[in-house]
Symmetry: C2
Subunit: 240 residues, 2 copies
DNA sequence: GCGCTGCCTTGATCCATGTCAAGACGATCC
DNA sequence: GGATCGTCTTGACATGGATCAAGGCAGCGC
């Protein structure tokens, strides 16, 4: 990733939308100040790569706004999306200067970046950040393993329902979940297919079947209304 | 996991087979002494669970000898193995007292355990252990994501070849890899199937096809001879 | 309005892998 | 040796999802 500071970004930690969930969340005042001192913002336009596999990556970052994907690709071009990155999610690997993933921006992205070395030094000294980092790593690991269950064992319909419920959980407040819910899918059909280990056509067909079964309505291809989330979730009673 | 100390285990760190690869690897003398002071050994017989999903787990541990598996299961019994644990691999999650996985012993197991709280305290104070732990977590994460590519994109044959090569890499010295190699598969056909997101029958058939194609020989079902590892690996030229 | 272009949907067909079923093989016990 | 049991292999068949192919539809530039 080229480190091009975005002069037009004047975000301030006080008003940062991810202040309480990102890597900086658990830091006390002193740690926070030091993080603040070394941070800089960066924008990445939709569709552009943030890093490619094997490239040098000498920053770590939090996503402030936008959606990115982590992916791996086979030599002959088959791609698997291994994670969606939403605001507050963490990018990069302390202790290593290369990346073994492709990361790319799905929408326009704002990143809060830290040069890796100063960040590592800070992690050494700041126990709040350190704990948060370790927790983030283990949470990601749990999520990856949960996704392995999905990829290896679930049917196409269960995969789609799992994906819809994932978006609901990340974008709807728990207290609103018993009413009809409208969600915007962060991924195209193609990206969804790649995330779920399916093809575009299968994703599309299963969406149509869920619509015919009355479990969802499609306002547009990317905007979904779920009249009753518990009924949709019930489709997973054999899964999870 | 019940903490039953094994009185008959008198292993000593000096002669520990995983001394240089496990969580203790990067620790300096002082840290090492303190780890040593709180460690205790535990045996788990083959087939027995180490922890079940949701159970309390108030220790962390390194595998000293034997093979264990991490797995997740759906409500109706479909199982996905999410990782194989071999000697030097790490079990447990600092900072959390429950486990969201099943872990079970495939062979008789010897674990080097640390009660979680004292271990966490030590991690706070010992930077060598801390770095090693973070590195282990990120390595596991990379491995999990690589496996997602396998589960989502590879064919049955490619999955089997990947698995065989994985065992080769973990059990054969690099300098011996250009000669015919004999490996003992750590998993039954059933467990292999579950690891690869396949059925027993498909695993068995693909092994037979690899045999007919002259890429492997089957001394027994679990003991495989690979006359030419590079030729086997070439089967993956479209994958990875 | 019209014609692109990119994304999505739907239908027809195919095939890799799953499912069901029948042995084969090896270990263990008597 | 023979019976039994668990594990593995092989065959016949079924099917979920992939592939191939043909439009539909919304956004955008002209």
């Amino acid at each position: 990733m080229k480190i091009s500071r975005s002069a037009d970004l004047r975000l301030d930690c006080q008003h940062c939308p991810v202040r309480h969930r990102a890597i900086c969340a658990a830091s006390d005042d002193g740690e926070f100040e030091r993080l603040n001192a070394i941070k800089f913002y960066k924008s990445v336009p939709a569709g552009q790569a943030v890093v490619l596999r094997g490239e040098k990556l000498d920053v770590v970052a939090s996503i402030v706004s936008g959606v990115a994907i982590l992916s791996k690709t086979t030599a002959d071009g088959r791609m698997q999306i291994t994670g969606i990155l939403l605001p507050s999610d963490f990018i990069g690997r302390p202790g290593r200067d290369t990346c073994d993933h492709d990361i790319s921006a799905v929408t326009d992205l704002t990143l809060c970046c830290f040069r890796r070395r100063p960040f590592e030094d800070l992690v050494e000294r700041a126990s709040g950040i350190r704990k948060r980092l370790l927790d983030i790593a283990f949470d990601e690991l749990d999520a990856a393993r949960t996704w392995m269950l999905l990829l290896g064992c679930l049917t196409a319909r269960e995969k789609i329902v799992s994906f819809l419920m994932l978006v609901v959980r990340r974008s709807v407040l728990p207290e609103d979940a018993d009413q009809p819910v409208r969600i915007d899918l962060p991924l195209s059909r193609e990206a969804t297919a790649s995330y779920l280990g399916l093809t575009i056509e299968t994703v599309s067909r299963q969406m149509s079947r869920l619509r015919k079964d009355g479990l969802i309505e499609l306002e547009t291809a990317r905007r979904v209304i779920i009249p009753d989330t518990s009924r949709l979730e019930a489709e997973l009673e054999n899964a999870d």
